[in-house]
Amino acid sequence: MTPPELSPEIVLFHILPKLPGKSLLRFKCVCKQWRSFLATPLFANIHLHHLTTVDPHRHEKVLFMASTATSGPLAAKMVQSPSLVVTHYNQNAWIVASSVNGLVCVGILKHTTTEFFDMTIWNPLTGEYKMLSKPIDTKCYSRNAMAFELYYSCSDDDQVPNRFEWQQLQVEGWSVGAGRASLAGGSTADGSSRALKLVRAYDQARELNNLDDDYKILSITTDRNVYIYSLRSDSWRKLESTLDHEDRIPCVGDHNLLDKKLHFLMGKRSRYIIIRFDLKTQKFTKIAVPPSCGRENLSLMVVRGCIELTRFRKVLRGTRMIEMWRMNGDGKWMQIVNISYPPDVDRTMRTKPLYLLRNGNLIVKLTFYGIGISICKVDPKKNYTEDELCSGSTIGPLRTYIETFVSPNQYVT
């Protein structure tokens, strides 16, 4: 077979965006054109668009940080299993605060303080990062802050950056133009110059139309003050909204983003409640947890587009139960998991289920008092054999994560 005449647009715009992040990182070496194209915001957004629209949650992974490795700070060292990413760091306290579109917000702690010394937005895949300017209120950086959540914001209701522009470019200039040129006997050289033109047109369109596209951080302090950080302007501002005083119950520290709304699980003893913050209206509302939820080890996560609550309950004779609920679109809770877990063999250990994988396996956190923490994968079908994924003296919270090329420095001119 003779080699087909292959236009660069097929490869650059239609094959590369369909590749996983890790392959793309290697393929930077293929040729100079690929390396420069892979570094453009246009590519980052087409790739992200593909990840989040075609089978949206297929590429979702779980990410957390552990303090075991000897690599440099903010180095992209990951240990991967099919759905898990572990990032390592050598300073004692890098904690993942939150993650969106492949960007991760990380707080840096100095050994004994309860405040983050610095905050950074980091892309673990490319290793790029940006240190944030200091907040107006130092309480924003408190480790006990009620919430610290990174999110993507755009006046367009879409969750994906610049989808509108990309589709418009596709319709107006790209596919149609390509078809006509080829029928007239166009060559691949045309394709190449069109590719360049598109990158330029995209940059201009972004400049002109989308000044409000931004990555933001919502921070709620222990005083119930609400602050928002903007990556575009690298600055903080205070919001009028505050939480009601009657809600002075301590946060249990789990918060997650869904549909432009942040969800926090708060509570003490038997009073758990989910607080929802609407990013658009900037108002707080409350959601009740399932009535059968108890008082032990409740945790919240947004997994594959749904809110999930997990509870780990001790019953008689050391047997434990794992229960999970998922909130459906209509706001009703449905129990999805209800299994018993074998009794503790070693009494110095505490177990907390964290995440239910698609194949039914669970990711659990084992705390060995005075020794450290271990993250394991547990297969309920195989007599609960624990498969250790990583261990360390401290391990940050788990976050769902996708590997993208989104740059934390995209707004720096």
Partner: protein
């Protein structure tokens, strides 16, 4: 009334007939029909006859809309050779048949994702324009991905 038929001509001057209402799944052909009625033969100077035969087979499919996604996936799966898929993707791009192009490109991406750099260059016919030193520098930077 008989259905209107269009004639497409491949790079190697072979003629293919296809009913107009099926052919206009291609946005490019639809636009041509709209513009000048396209009564004569439509030349496709970049598409060879084997690829055009595949495209015609795809356009002639008789699938219920809800099974279409699975059909197009199976259609490209059965033609799992990278050169064939690339030809098909290129023809689908030129003719603006989005579903077919996306499926063919997805399959290529799936096939090459674990390839070595050399294999990728060979499969996509890309010339290596880097010196070994440059390549090593990039490799070192992202060593964990290799």
């Amino acid at each position: 009334m008989s259905k209107k038929t269009l004639t497409l001509m491949s790079k190697d001057k072979q003629l293919f007939n296809i009913e107009e209402h099926l052919a206009v799944q291609s946005v490019t052909i639809r636009n041509m029909v709209k513009e000048d009625g396209a009564s004569s033969v439509i030349p496709l100077p970049r598409v060879d006859s084997e690829t055009l035969a595949l495209v015609i087979e795809y356009l002639n499919r008789q699938q219920a809309p809800e099974e279409d996604e699975d059909y197009v996936k199976k259609f490209v799966d059965e033609r799992g050779e990278i050169p064939t898929l690339l030809e098909l993707a290129q023809a689908a791009l030129d003719l603006d048949i989005k579903k077919l192009m996306d499926a063919a490109c997805m399959k290529v991406a799936d096939l090459i994702k674990d390839f070595t750099l050399e294999e990728v260059r060979e499969a996509l016919r890309i010339e290596n324009d880097r010196t070994p030193e440059e390549e090593k520098a990039i490799r070192d930077e992202f060593q964990w991905a290799f």
